[in-house]
Symmetry: D2
């Protein structure tokens, strides 16, 4: 995509001003090419005004429906609560807006199917789902190598998503609404597994528990869970999701192939600084997803904007969203029943 060329900027209305929502708004305002932060929407009037003032945005909405009526908005970026996604996707598309939605597509598989229908009804509009890891430089680099055949046939795909223990209070508070670890955290790993292997699961066994925080048991969830899946191309897929990482935010992935092995972020280093002191030789770690995936969050919205301008199709489709949800629900069931599930 040419940078700064004289194209008409895509005017984006961003919805939801939680931590990630604010970050998306800032990125659109200043780091995404050919985009303009045209409007903001949040129920919290004070936060809305603060953010809009800071980012120089005049169009401000407490009502999503009013925002999508606004003719000066070409596209929406949804960072609203998960339960609203499906309805907002459908409404925005109906109003003629391009839609970028953060995961999940819907909180149930049937919601995902509804979203599919809405998207299919508007082939003229761009719809994209936010699996940001695909837009991280290191993941892209590794994926390119895998696709180029440099590691041969995939044997084992292993991926971890670990949130730091220090955010546990927030995780416990959010537990009733999170859908559990597989839906809340492992969806990104599920997406990566499908992306790297080009295949789909056949069976899944899932286990885990409350190792440090019994509070999650109330919701039939654990603070750490894992699953082993066999994919149709025979690839073994092992996923681990946890909330008690002692060292920081740890997202790491390994793909073992017949000819080579790739590891992405096996040391979740914050930067290129190495410290030698009384603790040994050490690297400090990323603290959270916003730090680790800073650039990826810009890149994914850039892809969305580029698709709108050039007419190309996003690489992440609505069907990826449904498929990932179906798989995450299967993992969740396997975990709750302690049984092996076939797809």
């Amino acid at each position: 995509m040419p940078k700064g060329i004289n194209v008409k900027k895509v005017r984006i209305g961003s919805v939801g001003l939680g931590r990630l929502g604010i970050r998306h708004a800032e990125n659109i305002a200043s780091r995404v090419q050919n985009a303009e932060l045209a409007a903001l929407c949040d129920l919290d009037k004070q936060k809305l005004d603060e953010t809009a003032n800071r980012l120089g945005v005049s169009r401000r909405f407490c009502s999503f429906d009013e925002m999508i009526d606004c003719k000066d908005v070409d596209a929406v970026v949804l960072v609203s609560p998960s339960a609203l996604h499906t309805r907002q996707i459908a409404a925005a598309l109906s109003a003629g807006k391009h839609v970028f939605s953060e995961k999940p597509l819907g909180v149930t598989v049937s919601e995902c199917k509804e979203a599919e229908k809405a998207v299919e009804a508007h082939p003229e509009l761009v719809f994209m789902l936010g699996f940001m890891r695909r837009f991280d430089e290191s993941y892209k680099y590794a994926h390119d190598k895998a696709v180029a055949g440099e590691i041969g046939k995939p044997i084992l795909f292993r991926s971890y998503s670990q949130d730091p223990e220090k955010f546990i209070d927030g995780a416990i508070a959010f537990a009733p609404h999170s859908g559990g670890q597989f839906l809340d955290m492992a969806v990104h790993d599920i997406d990566l597994a499908r992306w790297f292997t080009g295949s789909e699961p056949e069976s899944v066994y899932a286990i885990g528990g409350c190792y440090a925080h019994p509070e999650f048991a109330r919701y039939q969830d654990g603070d750490n869970v894992s699953c082993l899946m066999k994919f149709k191309n025979d690839c073994m897929v092992f996923l681990f999701a946890g909330r008690t990482a002692p060292h920081g935010y740890n997202v790491e992935t390994e793909v073992i192939g017949t000819k080579g092995i790739l590891r992405i972020a096996s040391v979740p280093q914050k930067n290129l600084v190495e410290i030698l002191d009384s603790h040994g030789v050490r690297r400090e770690c990323s603290e959270n997803f916003l730090e680790r995936f800073d650039t990826a969050y810009v890149n994914e919205v850039q892809e969305f904007v580029d698709c709108i301008i050039t007419g190309k199709k996003p690489t992440v489709t609505v069907y990826d969203g449904t498929r990932v949800s179906e798989i995450a629900y299967a993992c969740k069931s396997a975990f709750e029943q302690g049984s092996l599930l076939k797809f």
Copy 2:
């Protein structure tokens, strides 16, 4: 154990002169304290003489039974074919010899039970099984930390055993007799899992396949396999065993706890040399088990000798051998049936 003190040396007869057998013989001859390589036994007369000449051993036997009749042998080290282990253990104990046996204890669980009985019948003799990883400095160091509570409660235990692709011909030739990947390779990881967690499996799901070498399918085996187990203390255990590692001999283990994480040999580096050249910044890898566990093979026999001299009990017991075999057989069944197995 005091070094070089005026103790009577333990006179060891070493049985089997394959690669590991020769190494054990060399170690006993020159690296194990308070031990004497008193006799050698192998069916191959030429190899026997060559090795015995080289190591200065006068007592040479093609018959195991003759060797255990020799009154100048106090103890035997068994590095013979697996199928002979149980019988040789029993015979040697009956002949009043201390016994160190390489894994496995027996090729079936019922053989293991027989071995148990033989050992129980001779409480005055030392019996020890060769799980050498427990005697590797890095594994010991990590285990000490885990036992000291430094990583809290164990959440996930992950362990890999990967043989290099370049030894695949030997692996294929041995496939009819190996018992499969779980019995041949993963037993070490199973032993480590029990050692680190202090617990036992409740359930196992196992998968895998022939990703590069269809020859293994003939024996209902794969060239790469994995399993996910839930242990009674809730710890998740993920094991992976493969024969196609592109980079070298890779044995690595990770223990994720509630307070810290330990990784042993996550980079299977050969030594402390780092090379910067057109391939990037790199470390060369261990080539095989003899290189990687060089010192561990000495240490385990040292432990055996120390137990004989001081009367202390080996930390690895005959029951560990049975238990590991039972678990490996369960993994094998789960793999062959594609089903979830409860213990």
Copy 3:
């Protein structure tokens, strides 16, 4: 600096369209906040038009003097040949433009002094010199720790600048004009040494040679050189600059203090991908300065723009430019004479 706030954008004219010049132009067009790429200047009409078309810039100049007459330009970014810097700095300041200049300030110390006078004559204008490493996230992070006292008193500062062998043809072609390794490459390390130690050199000894490429000898230069300096605060400073790195672009720095040691980029890894293959366990390296310091080049111009808007003073001053040049010339003399030089 608030992002995207309703401030008047700084209109920048960028001068020079070599590789770094094009990058700066692209950054100003699309990655620097509150900035507008208002004009471009280069002698090469075709390259000028191509770049201006691509970046949507209408004001195009083959003459620097015409560009600084343009009232729609608030500031200039100089990425022109080094020999033009001093004159262009003075002329732009006289024309009332803020000036950001890539290093060096001038090609001789007396030119640097002239530049100082020009800057002193225009205290109302922002002048900043491009020592981009100070704006790299890892260097900033390490510097913050050093300033906070986390490593105690500095003992040894070691810094390497290595260009890849694969760019050697360009380096040889540029050799007559480069001023030699100390002026061309080590200036960045000299700047870092002063920045990290807060001190100045007292003495320098410099050596080196043509290890692979005799062509540099013609210019009393080497393809690899080094120097050892004692700084006034007693810190030892060892710098190494080379053009034959086999592995990629390698800029690394170590600061050994009495309480801790910091290493920045001791493995010049391209990204977070680790590869395990027949070469061992490896990380691929940064290829060139544009890749390694991608973000730093944005950050330094952002700092310049922020200073213009807010009135704060740049942390890199004209005097830093002079001082670094003086030191680099001393290193060059020490190298050419093979002697110890006192400052």
Copy 4:
């Protein structure tokens, strides 16, 4: 060297029971092949008896001269105070004993020359000096690669020797007798530089100071020092020696060549365990020279014994000892005078 073959064992008398002396005695007693710890010598009668009892040695001497009269001793290993080395080397050779001496050969260059004469007078006896790093597996591996031409022509040789801060009290107490950092610590790096480059220094500049411990200034020494040398083959050699390492015992070496770069122990890791906890991702470090060079200390005495048995010549000669001392003295002079010294 065949292991355990029926060769007559070399009967060694070990002299000096400091920390390293005790370690050598233990190694000879139990880890060196074809060697027997035949006698021990130390002025401290109690320590002598304790060690001899523990290691099962009956011949015990408080007098060195009595020990070398003993006909049951074939060779001596000198781990006595440095000031005694020259005299003991000469006396032992005169008495017909093979001699292995820890560094230094003598405390002055003229002592070294005397030692040379003594060695030259006894070509029938083996003399070897203890530069143990050459016998470390990683150093040997890297040296083999360098000699094989894998890194091309050497450009920069950099080597660090850092003792941990926690041993500073001992270092201060020993300061009056140490000869200073270059003679006490950097000699090993000087030896490595000559070994890796196959060349000799032409010039040296040395600096340093008391960064944390003013006590060293009394002896015209520093707690951290460095030097930059130009070697006759143009290789640049930078050495750093320090006593205040915050992280452990750090001996690291880098050889930058025209085709590749080798780094030995750039992370001074204790073992293969990696820890992920609140300090980040870290490796604990070697604590002292006995831990880091455990095997090298065995290997060097093994080489000595092998030379005695097979008649081959040691790779480390008496002239290496003299040369290293000459260079270390030159470094010391350069440091004391703050001047550049030509050889």
